[in-house]
Symmetry: C2
Subunit: 314 residues, 2 copies
């Protein structure tokens, strides 16, 4: 595919499960080392003293081929013995840390405490799992997505998303730390060298916006020379997964493909939409295909098509 | 038993597996709240950022009735998924942290990081597990048993004990931090109020000596009004468990029951020895019985006998 599309330096922006599917496809059809993924760390939090990076881990486990095949997050065949003992101690168990998953979080916390930045820690974890794709956190600085809700007031992201299963009504999102967060080592260089920038079908507000809140990243995409293409996380007014439509509606945004196009605006040159939205009118270039990714074959097929579209844009 | 022996405020000094057996027996035959256990923390160490307290946990799991029935340490029916993932990351897995066991270590580390002293953390963990016996670390301060060996030089205790399975030749033991370590909250008051002090059949140098290295604890036992009795960890020149005899020999001590009596000297009023050592001559009072504890019934029987001996001494 790399030869057909002619693209060998690709940067993808991704959140968790939804984005990881396209990332898996891209990694499968690009030559080793061609792909750099910038992952969202707005979901990161400390849980019982452990530094948990849910989106980075979903991307990492997916790229390593060990992700849970149904959930999309966590590790396949993982167990929850630690959690069951935590329950015996009368502690909170709403965050589903698997036992094998714990090794990642323990190592990450340990290496961070030794002074390594998150980007170096992530690189080390990926190397140990034999991952060829370069996975970078958007920033090594704290930048936390905070959710103000009607029912519970201010919620840390994972409380909103996991504890309350994104049911509270969102009034406002705040990306705490955005003013001072700098791109992680390697992020700007990758964007500047990119021949294509792909925004994965992740939640625009919860997964992609935190990345764009790092001012220098948004700036680098705004002044890009390479084409930037997004894959819609919405089909026919329904989210592929999670709270995308519910959240956009609550925040007064148009919650369909046109709304996604409006949200990204000049940041993207093209939007890939599903056949169900084949007649949508958007200011950017529109590509139409089947954007559902049910199987690994779907992921690779969509990735190949996206790379061809990029070739078409360039 | 408490009525027969008349003893209701008992303090036991204990290390890990060997000591925990007698502690279990004592807890079974004393009224709730009568027993205070002072546990060795000279083995404590940080492992991948987690604060591990092997002896406290062995005592706690034993008292909660969830200890591994064969090993004596760790939790029954525990699994090792976290460790297997750590191995996949290419990390060290010589220290056998079980998945359920991890919950204890994660909570302890988290609460310590929040500023609670180890004694308060231990109390909270025990309360959550429904343990009536009071378990106190000897100190909340760092006091680490360090082993200087012929083959590997200086080893942290767990490296010597677990990683190298106590095979290296010991040249010297150092209890780092002993000069400044203070007894944990409650330790001195328990010793002063005790009607009986029992030194469990733990390794004198590796399990009991670290406790006695807290100067105020040794002092409180020296000036005791209550009788102090030790149960021998050696039968007929062989250790009940672990490196007791090997280590005493390497350090030029007499490695038998008489050597144990000599080691404790004036700290104890009596030594409980096995029938196999029934004719040993020691300066303290000698009690002879069957000191092997193979079953829970053995533990309770020996504890009952020890309390009767205490009544006899008082």
């Amino acid at each position: 595919m790399a030869l057909r599309s002619g693209v060998t330096r690709v940067v993808a922006l991704a959140g968790g499960v939804g984005g990881a599917k396209l990332v898996e496809g891209l990694a499968a059809c690009l030559p080793g080392g061609a792909l750099t993924v910038i992952g969202n760390t707005g979901d990161d939090f400390r849980h019982y003293g452990l530094h948990v990076s849910p989106d980075l881990d979903t991307l990492m486990y997916t790229l390593a081929g060990i992700a849970h095949p149904i959930n999309g997050w966590g590790i396949a065949d993982d167990t929850r013995q630690m959690l069951s003992m935590l329950a015996r101690y009368g502690e909170e168990t709403w965050f589903g840390l698997g036992d094998r998953d714990l090794a990642t979080n323990i190592l990450r916390t340990h290496w961070l405490a030794q002074g390594a930045p998150l980007s170096a820690v992530t690189q080390r974890l990926c190397a140990r799992l034999g991952i060829a794709t370069r996975l970078l956190p958007m920033t090594d600085d704290p930048l936390a997505t905070v959710v103000y809700t009607l029912e519970h007031g201010r919620l840390a992201f994972q409380e909103y998303f996991v504890r309350y299963r994104w049911q509270p009504t969102v009034q406002r999102l705040v990306y705490e730390g955005a003013e001072t967060a700098r791109p992680a080592e390697g992020v700007l260089a990758a964007l500047e060298a990119a021949e294509a920038i792909i925004i994965c079908p992740s939640n625009p507000l919860l997964s992609i916006e935190p990345i764009l809140q790092v001012r220098a990243i948004r700036q680098a995409i705004m002044v890009r020379r390479a084409p930037c293409l997004a894959v819609s996380p919405i089909i026919a007014g329904a989210a592929l997964k999670g709270p995308t439509v519910k959240l956009m509606t609550e925040l007064g945004l148009r919650a369909d493909v046109a709304g996604v196009a409006e949200y990204y605006g000049g940041l993207i040159d093209a939007l890939v939409v599903d056949h169900a939205d084949g007649d949508v009118r958007i200011p950017q270039r529109r590509f139409v295909t089947d954007i559902r990714m049910m199987t690994p074959a779907d992921r690779r097929r969509l990735a190949e098509e996206v790379l061809l579209m990029i070739g078409d844009l360039a």
